[in-house]
């Protein structure tokens, strides 16, 4: 075989001739040359005869082979005789491989129309919502049953895990919860004093702070912070175990995930959230008292007196009685989302954010229902 003159510089020349158009490729041509070459190949018009001359080509890769193949097909379809000449054995083999592997489009089943897609989407969302509620009820039931079983058979109960989770969800959350409540107290005192001063009723700022923090804001904002912190960590921890089939392994070993994973977590939240709420109440009152003193000159002693005069124990009770309910909502939603994680990392991320949104929403919804309930019974 005579060795063709090869240069490494890639080039493509189109030479229109009287009887045939010659397309000459030369050098080592790869996918990086394709952006230059493709428009030239596309511009080759149908002619009686087109010769693609590869005798000067040193090497082509599959993308160039594909482009040659595609051009050949396009021209043949337009009634042109196409010849590929001068291909070295390796190049001919690449061309052959690519031609053999030419992807065949498969007809996709026709998708639904826009109206159908809309209705289908709404339907799927409703069914998904219902499925989520059923799954929530399932995990809630699992938690209650396993908790009851733990009472009957205390050996099933995981005390070490409970203590560990109490530390993670309770003790470690104290700084952020206390700081948040302190700042809320400061803001309330500041804003309240500005408004009440207009009526000369500055001293009622104590009642404003006490009622709003003890009854609503202390526990609600604590629950929201815990929902963000803890529901996500429950979902991430259980979800990554689900991804690696650890939960399936537990089942085959006769270990119940409800006992090991759900009960300690949810119970830890039930025990810790009221305490965190109490800390938030105290920090909020402290922040409010401090600001009242600075801004309005209400001394701490006077603040305490006003506080004792109001029916604030009742408000604090109304606030804290909501905490276990919020705790169960947050914990069960976090565990349920973790158990719903599929096999991919992407589903873990999606379920984690879903858990946080659902937990916060559930807490606020429950709080609204508590408000109506307490208002009706006149507490």
């Amino acid at each position: 075989m005579d060795d063709p003159v090869t240069t490494d510089a890639a080039a493509l020349r189109v030479e229109p001739g009287a009887e045939a158009t010659h397309i000459r490729l030369s050098g080592r041509i790869g996918v990086r040359d394709l952006p230059d070459i493709a428009p030239q190949l596309d511009a080759v018009a149908a002619a009686p005869r087109v010769v693609i001359d590869l005798s000067e080509a040193a090497l082509i890769d599959t993308s160039i082979a594909w482009a040659i193949d595609a051009t050949g097909r396009r021209l043949r379809d337009a009634g042109t005789a196409v010849d590929i000449t001068g291909a070295a054995p390796e190049i001919a083999q690449t061309l052959e491989t690519v031609a053999a592997a030419r992807p065949q489009p498969e007809a996709r089943p026709p998708g639904p129309g826009p109206l159908q897609a809309l209705l289908g989407g709404v339907g799927a969302a409703v069914v998904g919502l219902w499925g989520g509620l059923v799954a929530f009820a399932g995990v809630l039931g699992l938690f209650l049953v396993r908790l009851a079983q733990s009472l009957v058979q205390p050996r099933q109960f995981r005390l070490t895990a409970l203590v560990h989770h109490c530390e993670a969800v309770g003790v470690q959350a104290v700084p952020i919860v206390a700081l948040m409540a302190f700042l809320i107290g400061v803001v309330l005192a500041f804003q309240g004093s500005a408004q009440l001063r207009q009526f000369g009723a500055e001293v009622f700022v104590v009642d404003l702070i006490a009622v709003s923090i003890l009854r609503e804001l202390g526990i609600l904002l604590t629950a929201i912070i815990v929902a963000g912190r803890t529901a996500s960590s429950f979902t991430a921890a259980i979800g990554s175990m689900k991804m690696r089939e650890e939960i399936d392994a537990m089942r085959t070993l006769g270990i119940d995930p409800g006992h090991v994973l759900v009960v300690p977590r949810v119970l830890a939240l039930v025990l810790m959230l009221p305490l965190l709420g109490l800390i938030a109440d105290l920090a909020g009152l402290f922040g409010g008292a401090l600001m009242s003193w600075i801004e309005l000159g209400i001394s701490p002693a006077m603040f305490l007196t006003r506080l004792a005069e109001g029916a604030n124990a009742g408000h604090a009770f109304v606030g804290l009685v909501k905490a276990p309910v919020f705790a169960v909502l947050i914990g069960v939603i976090g565990c349920q989302a973790g158990l719903a994680v599929g096999k991919t990392a992407e589903s873990l991320g999606r379920m984690t954010s879903t858990a946080v949104v659902a937990a916060i929403f559930a807490v606020i919804l429950a709080d609204a229902m508590f408000s109506i309930f307490f208002q009706r019974i006149g507490v």
Binding site: V31, L34, D61, T344
Partner: protein, 261 residues
């Protein structure tokens, strides 16, 4: 055409006090299929990761396609990475992208490539890897393990690399799927002139497609050579590996296939 495209000299890898490789030398020739074998924990995958530039060795040099991987600048390393492809054990496909979009990722590095061309090239690579058209529109999680490996191979081949690294390409596949994957790698390396560096435990793969075998033991490459010559190597591990029951079965299967096929 027997120039070395990968040249490893005096390589040492260690994790804390645990020395994995010490004074390891290895050459990989252009166009060959090299199978790297060794017992568990002999650092086969570590060697692959070191050569592919995913891990810095403690000592020694790795030269790939004429570039010294330790001293080369960022631009040179990037150029080398575009001339090599890696197939990770489970494909390592990006889970948020479809298979076609996965294969398009390396193609996006080429400026001026039209979107339709890029998609058509991705379709071509998916087809070259032996996957049907419909697989291109699926997400990695919707594919079986064998299909994910093929999709990973399609992505590794996207830029027509000169060297492909395969980390246990047939692990976790059923024997039929594994044999089909072996055939695919063999035919691609023959027809596209690929140099293949593959780490494997699979004796069938070694007998079916490897031109040469490198045995890792005692923290270095103990011996290299054609798989047929391995039975004669006087080393306990090599003896038990290549003269064991499984090796005999793989050898017999290839011998039975050769006259007919």
């Amino acid at each position: 055409m027997t120039d070395a495209v990968i040249r490893v000299r005096g390589l040492r890898n260690q994790f804390g006090p645990n020395i994995v490789h010490d004074g390891l030398d290895l050459d990989v020739m252009r166009g060959e299929v090299l199978g790297v074998v060794g017992g568990s924990g002999t650092g086969k995958s570590v060697l692959l990761r070191t050569i592919a530039g995913l891990q810095r060795p403690a000592a020694g040099s790795v030269e790939m396609l004429g570039v010294d991987m330790q001293t080369a600048g960022e631009a040179a390393l990037k150029a080398v990475s575009q001339r090599t492809g890696v197939l990770f054990q489970d494909g390592a496909l990006f889970s948020s992208l479809t298979v076609r979009e996965n294969v398009e990722v390396p193609l996006r590095a080429i400026h001026g490539l039209a979107t339709e061309t890029r998609q058509a090239l991705a379709r071509l690579k998916i087809s070259l890897a032996g996957l049907p058209w419909s697989a291109g529109d699926k997400f990695p999680a919707e594919l079986s393990g064998g299909m994910r490996k093929r999709a990973g191979l399609a992505r590794a081949l996207a830029l027509d690399p000169e060297i492909v690294f395969l980390d246990e390409p047939t692990a976790g596949l059923d024997p039929i799927g594994a044999a089909a994957f072996d055939d695919l790698i063999g035919s691609l390396s023959r027809t596209l002139g690929l140099t293949v560096f593959l780490v494997t435990h699979d004796l069938d793969t070694l007998y079916a497609i490897c031109d040469r075998v490198a045995v890792l033991a005692e923290r270095r490459v103990l011996v290299t050579g054609p798989v047929a010559a391995m039975g004669a190597v006087d080393h306990p591990w090599v003896q038990s590996y290549f003269r064991g029951r499984r090796a005999r079965a793989a050898r017999d299967a290839i011998a039975a296939q050769a006259p007919g096929g």
